[in-house]
């Protein structure tokens, strides 16, 4: 067992080194110094408190999305529609805020209702993918993808249509909400401690749900062997729907935080691709909830740190995506090599 752990770690370390090696080669091919690049990414993410706060701003939605995806992955579903679920969370949050704009409720209650609304919005969008899958026979990958595009269109329609700024509508989004509608931020920083609390509550709840509850156990049984779980009397399609709903609620919370603590309005690219990035994180940690926090933090740091690259080195900031992708790819390949190697050794 211990030897097994060690072997696994060795393979993953090798994958990590290979990934950085390949990305370094790509950098050299465009005449950029790899060490300089990595240094700039590091400085851009951990160099100052202000920048680290930005990393945390990206970390919150990423962790929430990853937590949700751990649930759908456990039940054997490929919820690519998670991106749209984030978007619908943001839309629903904006909608609740607009409804309560003139109300006399205390701001704290309004914020709580708005975030709750976001979770419901995400869950409803996930339920659509679930219904398409369970009752329509449409694979969740394609149903989810289609719904992602629809959600983007819906955002743009709202921003340019019914929710447009008085006067002229613009890509900069809807009218910002008043300050008291924002989750309280730390002094001089853009990060809200409440957002961090929401994210950590999300991952902790999911961790215990998957590790310690009968529900989690049955969910994993469905994911491991759908047919066997069905024969054993687990209501499989209900469990598939539950996992969509839970994941959608968490993704919706991610969208809600984007509105309530980051942008204070609805913007066209409100989800910033956190749904897709969350899928990468979930794959990289091999669906183990414990690793979600450090890996999501690492990925958030790469994203924020690479924002420096166009300014300092005239490199495109999409390098962070390349690095993340190559890393996940090599970890997957290493797992395959290890399994093949292990099987031969027996």
């Amino acid at each position: 067992m211990i030897k097994d752990r060690f072997g696994n770690l060795a393979y993953q370390l090798a994958a990590l080194l290979l990934a950085f090696g390949v990305v370094s080669l790509i950098l050299i091919s465009v005449d950029a110094s790899p060490s300089e690049t990595y240094k700039n990414i590091f400085k851009g993410s951990f160099g100052e408190m202000r920048k680290f706060a930005e990393v945390l701003v990206a970390f919150v939605p990423l962790l929430l999305v990853t937590a949700g995806l751990l649930v759908t992955f456990s039940s054997g579903l490929w919820n690519i529609g998670v991106e749209g679920q984030v978007v619908l969370g943001a839309i629903a949050t904006t909608w609740v805020y607009r409804l309560l704009l003139e109300s006399s409720l205390p701001p704290a209650v309004i914020i709580a209702l708005a975030i709750l609304g976001g979770m419901v919005g995400g869950a409803i969008w996930a339920a659509l993918a679930g219904i398409l899958k369970v009752f329509g026979g449409v694979n969740e990958i394609f149903g989810g993808l289609g719904l992602n595009f629809v959600s983007t269109a819906l955002t743009i329609y709202l921003i340019f249509g019914p929710w447009k700024r008085p006067g002229v509508a613009s890509m900069s989004g809807t009218v910002p909400f008043p300050d008291e509608f924002s989750l309280p931020l730390l002094a001089n920083l853009r990060i809200s401690p409440w957002a961090l609390v929401i994210a950590f509550v999300g991952i902790v709840v999911i961790y215990f749900m998957l590790q310690g509850t009968y529900f989690g156990l049955r969910l994993k049984a469905v994911g491991k062997n759908f047919r066997a779980a069905y024969l054993l009397g687990i209501p499989t399609w209900q469990y598939a729907m539950y996992s969509f709903l839970i994941c959608g609620a968490l993704a919706g919370a991610a969208g809600a935080v984007q509105v309530a603590a980051v942008y204070h309005r609805l913007i066209p690219s409100i989800s910033s691709g956190y749904g897709y990035l969350g899928l990468m994180v979930a794959m990289l940690i091999n669906y183990q909830a414990l690793w979600a926090v450090p890996v999501a933090l690492f990925f958030a740091a790469l994203n924020i740190g690479s924002i420096q690259l166009p300014i300092v080195m005239k490199l495109d900031s999409s390098l962070s995506g390349v690095l993340q992708g190559v890393l996940v790819l090599f970890v997957l390949l290493a797992a395959g090599v290890r399994q093949k190697f292990g099987r031969k050794a027996q």
């Binding site: 289609g146 269109a153 490199l315």
Partner: protein, 332 residues
């Protein structure tokens, strides 16, 4: 709208569908062999950028197309190696490649943004192009669009009318049986995945050197076409002809969105651009719903005559993937 502008518009629809057609045929071949190449969205972008970069630096448009095909084949090789040799999840590997190749295309394509480069010119076919209506629609295109017409026919012929095509269907449907009949299943899967990848790669330069010439990075509007092509492959029921019809339908809907723009002024253009997606979901629902369990139960509960009619309609629309799609093959 005059008849002339209508014809030009429809001819434009045929041309603008050609990249999608290559991608759909490529994916169809790959999936027929049992391998899902989910990397398509990233592959097309990387091949579009790479094809443009090669054509720009060498000033040779043919090399640009070959470069795009090579990129597609290489990405497909990674998919094949990971899924056939290492038996990793095709969906996971393909998805990671879809995102990685997309970002790589933006990263490496940065210096080529917005440069004026070579592009294919229209090549009207003498005599044929003078036929009224038909000439206008089919014979005043660029070379790559003609090739797309031929590719549809050849792919159909190969899959359904030749011996190797029969074997191809076999390795996707019943690999064990194909193996007993002497097919080297995994080698064939490698071959078809790589050929399919090259065709998917061809879609890239078909965009960047023909229908949407140039490389515009994130604002090129190419992001998403690979996912569409995947849906069309399903819509087409893994048949190149039906798949091509799906691609034409999609291109037609996009054109319709543009045409309707002045009429529906209150709807933002970005919304009309994505209008085909809900329709895609709907068609996927229609072709898949016959496979759902509750539909079968409902049908069984119907009176005889109604059941026959509904079952017929469902069967006509329904498509089913190759039985061994995504399942690794292992000799015992």
């Amino acid at each position: 709208m005059s008849q002339e502008t209508m014809l030009i518009g429809l001819a434009g629809v045929l041309a603008s569908a050609s990249p999608l057609i290559f991608a759909v045929i490529g994916e169809t071949l790959s999936e027929r062999a049992g391998v899902i190449n989910l990397s398509m969205n990233g592959t097309i972008l990387l091949a579009a950028m790479g094809g443009f970069a090669v054509a720009y630096t060498t000033d040779n448009i043919v090399l640009g197309f070959l470069g795009g095909m090579l990129i597609g084949a290489l990405v497909a090789l990674v998919v094949a190696f990971a899924s056939i040799t290492l038996q990793q999840s095709q969906v996971a590997v393909g998805f990671v490649l879809a995102l990685t190749c997309r970002d790589l295309s933006y990263f490496l394509g940065n210096p080529y943004m917005g440069l004026p480069g070579p592009r294919l010119q229209a090549l009207p076919i003498p005599v044929l192009s003078d036929i009224p209506v038909i000439g206008q629609l089919f014979f005043r295109h660029d070379v790559i669009t003609y090739i797309s017409f031929i590719a549809i026919f050849l792919a159909w012929l190969w899959i359904f009318r030749t011996r190797p095509g029969l074997m191809l269907q076999g390795i996707g449907e019943k690999p064990a049986a194909a193996y007993i009949r002497g097919a080297n299943v995994n080698v064939m899967r490698y071959v078809y995945t790589i050929i399919g990848g090259a065709l998917i790669g061809l879609a890239g330069p078909a965009f960047s050197l023909a229908t949407r010439a140039g490389w515009m990075g994130t604002i090129s509007g190419l992001d998403g076409f690979g996912w569409i092509a995947l849906s069309i492959t399903i819509f087409g029921g893994w048949n190149p002809v039906r798949g091509a019809l799906g691609a034409y339908l999609f291109a037609f809907l996009q054109w319709l969105g543009l045409v309707l723009q002045p009429v529906l002024t209150q709807v933002p253009s970005q919304v009309l651009q994505v209008a085909p997606f809900p329709l895609m979901i709907l068609t996927l629902l229609l072709v898949n719903i016959g496979n759902a369990e509750w539909v079968e139960r409902t049908l069984a509960a119907m009176p005889e005559s109604a059941r026959k009619i509904f079952a017929k309609i469902l069967r006509a629309m329904r498509t089913s993937p190759p039985a061994a799609l995504g399942v690794p093959f292992e000799r015992d």
